[in-house]
Amino acid sequence: MIANEILKTALLGTDKHMPQASSLLQETGTKLNALQTDKEDRFLKTAITSLLFEEAGKTAISVNHSMPECEEETLPIISEGLATLMDLAFKGNDEVLLGYYLYLIHKNKQVITAKLIPSALNKALENKKLATTLVNACGKTGEWLGALNDNWRKFFEKSQEDDLWETGNLEQRKAHLVEVRQNDAAKAIELLTAIFPSENAANRLMFLEQLQINLSLADEPFLLSISKDKSQKVKETAINMLRTIQGTSINRLYLDHLLRVLSIKEERHLLIAKKKVLDINKDILPDEEIFNTGIEKVSSVKGVDDYIHITGQLLSYIDPIVLAKQLGLSLEELLQMFFQHKRSNQLIPFLAKSAVLFKNETWAAILLQHHEYRDLNLLAVLPAQDRLNFYQHFIENQMQNLLNYVLEDEYHILPIKLAEQLLAYLAKNPYQITLPTYQRFALQLPNEILDKLQRYSGNPSEDYQVRYFKTKASEMVRMIELRNNIS
């Protein structure tokens, strides 16, 4: 190669080395060597003629490789307008809007344009929460492109599931376990039984937590087998699961004790009418065995007797349906009796816990209607539409937690009255939520609120707090307009 000689001289310097004339450039070489100039001049001229000669003589290389063409998309592709907005959201790292666009794409069963796919897959690498929807939005083109890229390939690998369980990374193994658990709960137990002793404590705990999916009585033997695990956290998690599964030995222990202490009695009311009341027998002591399962023996709350504290704890692990059936009452009747009990204030928080744990809509709806028993967690039990009636009760004291329920994945538009209440609160307490939450909130605000928002954004007051909310109000207007433009 001509260049090698030139480079050698260039590196060492003409004082130490001069290039040999190339056989390919003999004529030019002879002419240059004949020049009556210094060696540097001759070298520089030789160098440029040789390098240009080599460059000008280059030919195409054999690529000898063809790539498979990507399959056509089966789903429709998003509009150019939405594609531009998505591109901006990717560039601006605007995750609120990105989440909304992805929701629309998923809802309309569409896929993104090919140009957006690299940005989407890169985003999926950094944002695990959005990863699945991003990957799904990439369609066939994403799958094709992902197979070629070492970083993106993992999103599309469906290969040998057993291999994945044994050789995949932690995230892949977790995802695999979740999938198996959803489709075949017993198979998941089989998988866990095989690997449990060889995993570290953190992995054991993470895998065990996935059993919450389709948790049933069939899991009892496995959970019992690990209830003496070396790791305290694993042990506690296993025991906690055993406590919540109806029919396990631990849970039966709880139920048996409750059935011994709880009884329905008839009381005369005003000497004529008879009334059924719930009685809790404080003289019947629980088996010592119960206290080995994590139940506290002594109440640490002032004014709460130990027997009430123990009964309450046990109640929280019993499905309301099971208890009502055992006592021969309807769900409503049973709860009503607890309400009428003289210690109802102390017991109801445990019943609320039970309603949340066993997703009992009847109890949740009744409890939420009583302001003294209202627990925000009960909202999770109710369908989204039914929750709306209760949101207003939590605005004043639990706004931030309430927004976790208000801002739901389906972007349902809020009723105007509720929207106004929420807005009025935020206008008074504008620092309670961050800008992304304001933006996210705006995507669920009804169009009728625009006038009100514009009034907020046009508020001439120079008060710092008002000015702060003004900018948030105009941002919310922009988000609503953007939403309206897309649809």
Binding site: K16, E40, H65
Partner: protein, 436 residues
């Protein structure tokens, strides 16, 4: 005003401005918004009491805003323009201009006139010749010094250059600026673009040095060279041809397609390269513009549009650099360009052009029916005969290109520069992808 959202966003000085502009493209932000054939203007309610007054000159694109932003155009200008593309019906069409808008537009028109008058001033030929002779003397002295410096470098060898790259060419570059040989200074600055951490720097450095030496050698022998080559050399050394002199040259009337627009910033100077291709003449043209600081492009050309234009090339061998003399935008059309389908033709083109002009920095090309190939972690462009070349675009751009083509054949526009191939634009039927 017929701009698309994408085109307006391309005017944004950075991504943050584009995002902020988008946030202002809403009815709620604009207290007033008006349009007529000359301008678009509105009052934007910011965080202060007084709204910002934003004006856009639509005849000769320019922005004005009363906000304190140093960005140009500011988010208000972008927001107003974006809002118009989104919802023109929200704007009030009026024939009358408010005083502040009329005043600004008139001032701009006055400036234009005084610029022309300034250009029309008679030139003192004698003084001009004197200046030219003095400059030539300075340049010759500078060239002599440059040749001596290059010889010193090769005498001692370039092995240690990477250790002292920042000082290596600093003094001689400054000397070329003093010697009024700005072109040579630019050539020397190219050395700083070499990646000295990557193998292959040796070849690039010695090639650059020997090419500059060849340039000085050619300049010292101009009397033996054809006039076109002399013009080429003068430009490379640093003599500029006045815009009005260029415009006196012969026009090439054609339908020109804007193949790509790229910008890069160096020392607060933004260099914009607009690559055009004549549909009939089948020739390329490069419109080169330089903007200092916050200057804004004074044209409304966007990648992909087609214009019926008369262009005039700067004098030189294999001329590429050109000025647009007159232009008229045409409706959006598919980029249907007949071009070679063999990669070997590009190599042939390189051979031909380098043999005519060894100083050629960029060689544009168009190819049809080619494929983007990813093989062994490298990117290639391949023709149907499976012949190809390696693509020098960064990895992220290459993935974008592959996503666009989906493994199918496409047409492309690219540039050969510094022995590397950079793809700028790809298209398949009516779908275009601007890589740069």
């Amino acid at each position: 005003m017929h701009y698309t959202r994408d085109q307006v966003l391309k005017l944004a000085p950075d991504d943050a401005s584009a995002k902020a502009g988008q946030q202002l493209a809403t009815n709620a932000k604009w207290v007033t918004k008006n349009i007529n054939s000359r301008a678009l203007w509105g009052d934007c309610q910011g965080s202060g009491k007084t709204p910002y007054k934003t004006i856009i000159d639509l005849e000769n694109i320019a922005f004005k805003c009363s906000c304190p932003s140093r960005k140009f155009p500011c988010k208000h200008g972008l927001g107003l323009m974006l809002f118009y593309t989104q919802d023109p019906s929200a704007f009030n069409t009026t024939a009358e201009l408010p005083a502040h808008v009329a005043e600004w537009l008139d001032k701009r028109a006055e400036k234009e006139i005084s610029k022309v008058q300034k250009e029309d001033k008679p030139v003192d030929e004698l003084a001009k010749q004197k200046r030219s002779a003095a400059r030539e003397k300075k340049v010759e002295a500078g060239i002599a010094e440059l040749r001596a410096w290059i010889k010193d470098v090769v005498r001692g060898g370039i092995m240690n250059v990477p250790q002292q790259i920042y000082q290596f060419n600093q003094h001689i570059t400054a000397r070329m600026v003093d010697a009024q040989a700005g072109g040579l200074a630019t050539q020397l600055r190219q050395i700083n673009k070499i990646n000295f951490y990557q193998d292959g720097w040796q070849r690039l450095l010695i090639k650059r040095l020997s090419l500059i030496y060849l340039l000085t050698e050619a300049y010292n022998n101009v009397e033996k060279l054809p006039i076109a080559m002399v013009k080429e050399l003068q430009t490379l050394i640093g003599w500029t041809t006045a815009k009005e002199d260029v415009l006196l040259g012969s026009e090439v009337n054609d339908i020109w397609i804007i193949l790509s627009i790229t910008t890069n910033e160096e020392a607060n100077i933004t260099t914009e390269r607009i690559w055009l291709y004549g549909k009939e003449s089948k020739s390329f043209a490069l419109v080169l513009s330089f903007y200092a600081g916050n200057q804004l492009p004074q044209h409304l050309l966007f990648s992909g549009i087609q214009i019926d234009a008369a262009i005039v090339y700067f004098p030189g061998l294999l001329p590429l650099r050109a000025l647009i003399k007159t232009q008229q935008a045409l409706p959006q059309q598919a980029m249907d360009l007949k071009a070679s389908i063999a990669i070997s033709d590009v190599y042939e083109l390189i051979t031909q052009q380098l043999s005519q002009n060894p100083f050629l920095a960029q060689i544009p090309f168009i190819l049809n029916e080619v494929n983007i190939i990813f093989k062994d972690s490298k990117w290639f462009l391949s023709d149907q005969q499976q012949e190809g070349f390696e693509i020098a675009n960064p990895d992220a751009e290459a993935w974008d290109m592959l996503a666009f083509t989906k493994g199918k054949s496409c047409a492309c526009f690219g540039i050969y520069e510094d022995e590397q191939f950079h793809l700028h634009t790809l298209w398949i039927k009516d779908q275009i992808f601007f890589v740069k």
